[in-house]
């Protein structure tokens, strides 16, 4: 038969493990709610932003390049 004290000890251990797992799970996906992840997983947002960037940025490749690299 379990004594009352043992029962409390088991309950304490279960709650300790559960809270540890909860914290671990939350940290596992560290950036799920970050703005980086929200934007970089949205095709629509990225299309809008890359169009803006394309308009603003000057070309980086010269048209004079000729031949094989």
């Amino acid at each position: 038969m379990l004594k009352k004290r043992d029962g409390f000890l088991i309950l304490f251990l279960i709650s300790l493990i559960t809270s540890f797992l909860f914290v671990f799970t939350v940290n596992l996906f560290a950036d799920e709610n970050s703005e980086c992840f929200k934007c970089h997983t949205s095709t629509k947002k990225l299309i809008q932003i890359t169009r803006i960037i394309a308009k603003e940025r000057p070309p980086t490749k010269s048209e004079e390049t000729k031949g094989e690299g």
Binding site: A30, H40, T50, P58, S62, E68, G69
Partner: protein, 372 residues
């Protein structure tokens, strides 16, 4: 290789979070601000490739063993490239500074990094995630290896040069990493002065154990063991490039121009035999360097141009069992055209190639006439 749309280059697969790398916050590797909603402000201080030029604080945090020799990898430091360019003209400090500037503007973009093999296409081909930022244990050949090594290696290996067959290893389904392992790519304790001195570089004999042995079942292997590189008999014609010139256009954008490439096959002397390449004869490929490559930046920069051959030892990736030169002894031993001779050299490159050109009096044309 299909080009990627701008948004595709940076679109992250939601599965990324479920992998081991999803345990790390974006900002831990890339910097920036992950709480900022304005994308311009959020990207302030962002590091596009956290693994270049130093991977120790990003990939190295977990993959310490792999990253420890990272900076010694020729894919990262391009050291052999600099050795050859400085060897041709880096002796004078004022000139060296200008060569360095030219190299920075035109050449040093062609490097790799952990990220530019395992996460995205290399920067030199305008980047873009390989698969939604999911890390690839084995870099995909078409998007990584041959994205850079395209005009020579890819075309030779896959048989894209009209009239020339694909490499037998390609036909058997072998990808680059079957021979070029991670151990070779990730660097070792030493920084080699030449790419053929890279430790763990591929060796034909690793698989074809008896091929180079004097006990080989093949007569030609026994006869030529140690004297000819495998490629001399088992390659076909390959691409040779000429006259690379670099400069900046009217808008200040860097450009390069090369002359027309030529498919050729030339056997020459091994300029610097070493333990791994003891052969007397090797294949030679013309490299695009010219006496005037850096004229835009500094005239006559390559004052020691004549000290280093422009025909370099080559290992064309178009291996065949039977080739025009090996199917019968007489094919090679009666045909002078297989060999790099004085007449094949450009007038301005004669001096530079004296150590690799095959003199008429030692040409191994031994069938049909007595050898001198």
């Amino acid at each position: 290789m299909e080009p990627l749309a701008p948004h595709e280059k940076i679109l992250i697969d939601e599965d990324f979070l479920e992998g081991p790398h999803g345990e790390t916050a974006c900002v831990d590797c890339h910097g920036g601000n992950n709480k900022e909603k304005d994308w311009r402000k959020a990207h302030k201080g962002v590091i596009r490739d956290p693994s270049f030029p130093d991977a120790s604080k990003s990939c190295g945090e977990c993959h310490e063993d792999i990253v420890k020799n990272y900076k010694k990898s020729v894919h990262i430091n391009l050291h052999p490239y600099y050795v050859l360019i400085y060897g041709r003209g880096g002796g004078r400090p004022a000139v060296k500074d200008k060569i360095n500037l030219a190299m920075k503007n035109h050449c040093s973009e062609c490097h790799s990094s952990c990220g530019q093999c395992h996460v995205s296409r290399p920067d030199s081909v305008e980047g873009g995630f390989l698969d939604g930022h999911l890390f690839q244990k084995r870099p995909p050949q078409a998007e990584v290896c041959t994205a850079c090594h395209g005009s020579r290696i890819e075309r030779e290996y896959t048989g894209k040069n009209k009239g020339y067959p694909a490499d037998v290893h390609y036909k058997k389904g072998m990808s680059c990493e079957k021979c070029h392992t991670g151990a070779e790519m990730h660097g070792t304790n030493t920084i080699p002065n030449h790419r053929y001195l890279v430790e763990n570089a591929p060796r034909c004999v690793k698989c074809h154990k008896d091929a180079a042995s004097k006990k080989s079942k093949v007569l030609a292997h026994r006869k030529h063991s140690g004297k000819l590189s495998c490629y001399v008999c088992h390659s076909v014609a390959y691409k040779n490039c000429y006259s690379c010139h670099v400069g900046k256009d009217k808008k200040g954008l860097p450009y390069f121009k090369t002359a027309k490439s030529e498919m050729m096959f030339k056997i020459g002397l091994n300029q610097k035999p070493d333990k791994l390449h003891p052969y007397k004869y090797v294949l030679l490929r013309h490299v695009p360097v010219s006496r005037h490559t850096f004229d835009f930046y500094v005239k006559d920069a390559l004052v020691d141009f004549d000290k280093i051959p422009t025909w370099k030892m080559a290992t064309p990736h178009n291996i065949q069992k039977l080739t025009p030169q090996n199917s019968q002894c007489k094919n090679c031993h009666t045909n002078k055209e297989f060999f790099l001779r004085e007449k094949d050299l450009l007038p301005e490159e004669k001096k530079a190639n004296q150590s690799v050109v095959v003199p008429e009096n030692i040409l191994p044309i031994t069938i049909g006439k007595k050898r001198r």
